[in-house]
């Protein structure tokens, strides 16, 4: 009866879940549109709060990363609760897959979402507030974004799994996220400051990338170690 069937491998299952999530997101655009609108709205608010037409250096880096961080919190909030809202969460738990496939898929989905969001946010920021024009000198932002996204995705997946079964999810997600993401914010904002200054340059870039890489590896391993406990039962 089951001759042709085997349980899918970890990555096959994760791939199937990720494709399903991307398809759902493309169809509804719920996370990306809300996060994008939020990003622009926040830039507008910062414009009035600082009464500036242009920003550069540490202020620019701070405004950019705080905006991204809050937008990320929105995405984290929806990450696993969306699975419930859509109605399929228990089907995932019933399936003969390694539970870590859910972790990998959600991690990858959040990573992709954040990357798209940051590309949009950076363009919008350059258009609205950033003093120096976008140039190839800012290319070292790429590894900063990459390492920030890995960390946010690992921590975000854990937090969304922890919060999704509580009855105060919307409150708990930001409260848990902000302190846990602070070291990443430190690294990302400090690394971006010279890159966003009027004459973009790099300074201590390796130090901040190193900090973020260390943070990422610890929390990626931790997420892998504890995720099953969060979603069992």
């Amino acid at each position: 009866m089951n001759e042709s069937k085997e349980t899918p491998g970890l990555f096959a299952a994760a791939g199937a879940i990720l494709r399903k999530d991307l398809r759902l997101e493309l169809r509804t655009m719920e996370t990306l549109t809300t996060a994008a609108i939020f990003t622009v709205a926040t830039f507008v608010v910062f414009h009035f709060a600082f009464d500036r037409y242009e920003m550069s250096g540490d202020i620019a880096a701070g405004v950019f990363w705080v905006t991204v961080l809050f937008a990320a919190v929105l995405a984290i909030n929806r990450l696993l609760s969306n699975e419930r809202a859509q109605g399929g969460y228990e089907a995932l738990l019933l399936a003969p897959i390694d539970r870590n496939a859910i972790l990998f898929a959600k991690f990858a989905f959040l990573f992709v979402t954040l990357t798209l969001l940051e590309i949009f946010a950076l363009l919008a920021f350059a258009l609205l507030l950033l003093g120096p024009a976008l140039s190839t000198e800012m290319l070292p932002l790429a590894p900063v974004l990459l390492l920030a996204n890995i960390g946010i995705a690992a921590i975000g997946t854990l937090i969304s799994a922890l919060a999704t079964d509580t009855n105060a999810r919307e409150l708990l997600v930001p409260l848990m996220s902000l302190p846990l993401l602070t070291p990443l914010l430190i690294g990302a904002a400090r690394a971006s400051t010279p890159l966003m200054s009027l004459v973009p340059h790099t300074e201590h870039l390796d130090r901040w990338l190193g900090l973020m890489a260390l943070y990422d590896s610890v929390f990626a391993l931790l997420a892998f170690a504890v995720f099953e406990y969060v979603i069992e039962d």
Partner: protein, 246 residues
């Protein structure tokens, strides 16, 4: 993981393949309250168990323990030869659950939902489309297969839910009020797959005593998380079963 599949078969052979479910001393707490207490029963392969009991008697908890969604706190639970909760992974692929929730994604189409299920249960890529089409025809959803399921009626959802549960061709079906949202036509339509003729081992949780007794080989009465009685369905009178709800 072909290894896991092999050991499943091995276990079944060793235990003679005669008992699909073997539960003893099963206890599951919900905080201070015991949702199930010292529950025990056996169900031979290919037979049907009907579980009766008032709301809060532990019927759904029992079903969820058997479905590997809740782990037992105490006691031995063997499903299809595998011990729960430790070997839950090895048995998940053999269980189909049809409950109150359809467990499908509202913004995906019926076809996409079933294809996703097929992938999760390890259907090889080149077979997915065939399997899904077959299943859509069986539950008469082929005409609406490419609509997002959020537009589906309750009856269509129930049919889709059945299709989802049947995609892995499960040996064991867990049915929570299977006829609650089905009109007689749909019930007739699904009967070959989830009825006794399908030859699957089944556990049916229901308030519908006549239907349950008619379907069952073994009947189990629960009251406040404890087994009130458990014997061949033929020896259980409908009045006796109604007694549970008083």
């Amino acid at each position: 993981m072909p290894q896991a599949a092999d050991s499943t078969a091995g276990h079944l052979r060793r235990s003679g393949g005669d008992l699909a479910i073997c539960v003893s001393g099963l206890t599951r707490h919900y905080g201070e309250r015991a949702a199930l207490q010292n529950v025990g029963f056996e169900l031979p392969a290919g037979q049907t168990l009907a579980v009766f009991g008032a709301n809060g008697a532990g019927k759904t908890t029992l079903l969820r323990v058997l479905a590997t969604l809740l782990r037992p706190h105490e006691g031995d639970v063997h499903v299809l030869g595998q011990a729960l909760p430790d070997d839950a992974y090895a048995v998940r692929g053999q269980i189909g659950l049809i409950g109150h929730e359809a467990l499908v994604y509202r913004d995906l189409t019926a076809r996409e939902n079933l294809a996703f299920t097929a992938r999760l249960y390890g259907e090889p890529k080149n077979r997915v489309a065939t399997v899904v089409n077959e299943m859509l025809e069986r539950v008469h959803l082929e005409g609406r297969a490419d609509e997002p399921v959020r537009n589906f009626s309750k009856g269509m959802m129930q049919r889709l839910s059945a299709a989802r549960a049947l995609i892995p061709r499960p040996q064991l079906l867990l049915l929570d009020e299977p006829r609650a949202n089905l009109d007689p036509g749909a019930a007739q339509l699904l009967d070959p797959f989830i009825g006794p003729a399908a030859g699957r081992t089944r556990v049916i949780v229901t308030h519908d005593i006549d239907y349950g007794l008619e379907q069952a080989d073994v009947a189990l009465g629960l009251r406040l998380g404890r087994v009130e009685w458990c014997r061949p369905a033929a020896q259980v009178g409908a009045d006796e079963a109604r007694e549970l709800y008083r």
